[in-house]
Symmetry: D3
Subunit: 144 residues, 6 copies
């Protein structure tokens, strides 16, 4: 009987990785400029196809510079989206990970608080709009 | 038998509003620079206390300039938080409302797509981190 | 291309029901004191076992008087729980159904607003507590 | 590598608080009649504006007597709403906090079980109504 | 101040159980072919009615063979549904419990990863479809 | 004022598509063996990168045969995962789409009801396990 969180599969150790998995691990360290492969990626690696799919998507959206492109949103905004989605869903691993990323990008504690306050506010208004079944009164313009 | 969404309470018409409610309706039109009071606020007005609480919170966080302050995050980032929280929760009224606000702020369709793609990505990673019960491998620095 | 909501299975008409399903339909009309079987139950009836399971659970918890027992919570509190859970999850059918039930029980529009305001408030605090990863500071007493 | 939950920001110690924050901390202790400031409030205090907004909303809705008003719902019903929303969202801090509050208000363990059983039931029916895309068959009366 | 998860009510010990509760505990051990009663059931037992309702539903849907019936879906598919719902909701107890059940049924780690990858994928598409408010373009046939 | 759901961006018409987008549209029609491109994909196409990312992921996980591989789970199980995740999140577009897919794969109405009943059941147990804060009593074996 334990309340400590332990992954339900055995993560791949970096030293065990080979082939495709080892390549992706190296790409993660390089792209994120970190000297270890986070547990999230070592866990996904139990299924190499899954690791590749998720990493490809995340790299493309969150590290466009690694592919010689620029994102339409800046890095801080992208990580704020990650944080507020994770707060809304209550994902502990994810909140910690994206808060760490935002610290590296220089977000102050007060600004972190503002982002979460706004996320909290709209979780409130979402429940109200659904709880009263309010129909949209104005549709957004389809401009481009 | 109807699938059309209709609010479960009778919204307050602008012409019916008096006292505190009328004041808040005027403040909404002025602060948001719009010439009507959206259905969301006219619905909350069935309970004046509720209208006041939600409007006060939203005005303070989303319209700091109306109180002579500056937010720590810019207006576009604030509305993006609103949108991605609403997309995560599946709130139809809210998605429409915040998309409209982002259009007014000049967000392009491609950037809107990028914001939602990132929100989608992290709804995926949230489910993965929870589905494997991954424990945080690194705690964010408590800087500040 | 249609945005009108239509059930993905063909609901059982009351006149078509026979055997177990007809018995449960009759029990629903009698227990809820209504003269039609709501679409929810006619839809579940596509799988008789499912209809029986959900109706048995709902009858036992929401209509204890029909089984000669009293609930520990009163009828209004029970329906308020149903409403705020449905608002939190954004279930349109359910919000309409439980608002209707609360009207029958005499809940005023202002009190409905208060219930939803409180539900909204705690959707906000939930996102904040998760967004900051706040650990419980006090465990509830295990009285009884 | 740790699975212990630790807040992502450094909470404000009660002895460190000054100005607006100290006033709110005192109001929390007085209004809730407790001799410490819970971690939730000390964490929000990293952004004084956020602390003020959330406390003002919570005090107004959950402690109307502190403002010389009466709520339309009683204290036990209000805390039950808080609990079932928190259970639905899976917020650990919040479930513990509101269970503690309900114990103080005298809710028995069996009644707590009934409240959660009802919350569980409607999380089930919500998924069913959405999973079959059932359209509302009856709209609530807009009486007042 | 503790982040360890502890149930908010005192679970019933197997040796303390009597009457209806003892019968259900015995049925759980027998039906699931395990030599202890999991904490989930011992916790629900604080309200005997609740224990009976949830166990009856779960036994009927998840252990049809115990009632001399066959399910329409096989045991592995049923447990996969349990797992992906739990991953989507972020329920720690449930993810652990259903992963254990899937191991017993012989699911490989790679297949577990595939199930969660698919669950992650559709949490992403759900957020996208809601975030763009996409209307159904094709309604399913009402065959049968 | 309208409650009809309309996408917040202008979907790309099939006849308008060119380059990368046209290629992906063709691949969608071919891989899914349908003669139109569903609204979901035409909407994502407002951002070509996003369209590519989501389609690549979905094709790889849901149509492995198109890449000369076999999935570890069969096609019906994969679509059931899609359906129950969508039911849990309340995504209307997605529930319709995956129900249609399951019909094509031959799932009977009764089996569809069983899948949703099981999804409903575990949404109930998830809320109960979280509402009582039950700690895992048994960790899954890390076999493989």
């Amino acid at each position: 009987m334990s309340s400590e969180r332990v992954a339900t599969v055995r993560p791949i150790e970096e030293s065990q990785a080979s082939g495709k998995v080892a390549e992706i691990f190296a790409d993660i360290r390089r792209t994120k400029n970190i000297d270890f492969v986070p547990l999230f990626w070592r866990t996904l690696a139990v299924n190499a196809l899954e690791l590749e799919l998720v990493w490809t998507s995340l790299k493309r959206l969150m590290h466009p510079e690694a592919e010689g492109r620029e994102g339409l949103l800046d890095a801080k905004t992208r990580e704020i989206i990650a944080l507020v989605v994770s707060a809304t869903n209550g994902c502990s691993y994810c909140v910690n990970s994206h808060t760490t990323a935002l610290r590296k990008l220089g977000l102050s504690t007060a600004a972190l608080g503002e982002a979460l306050a706004i996320a909290g506010l709209f979780n409130m208004t979402n429940a109200l709009a659904e709880g009263f079944q309010i129909a949209p009164d104005v549709l957004p313009p389809l401009a481009d």
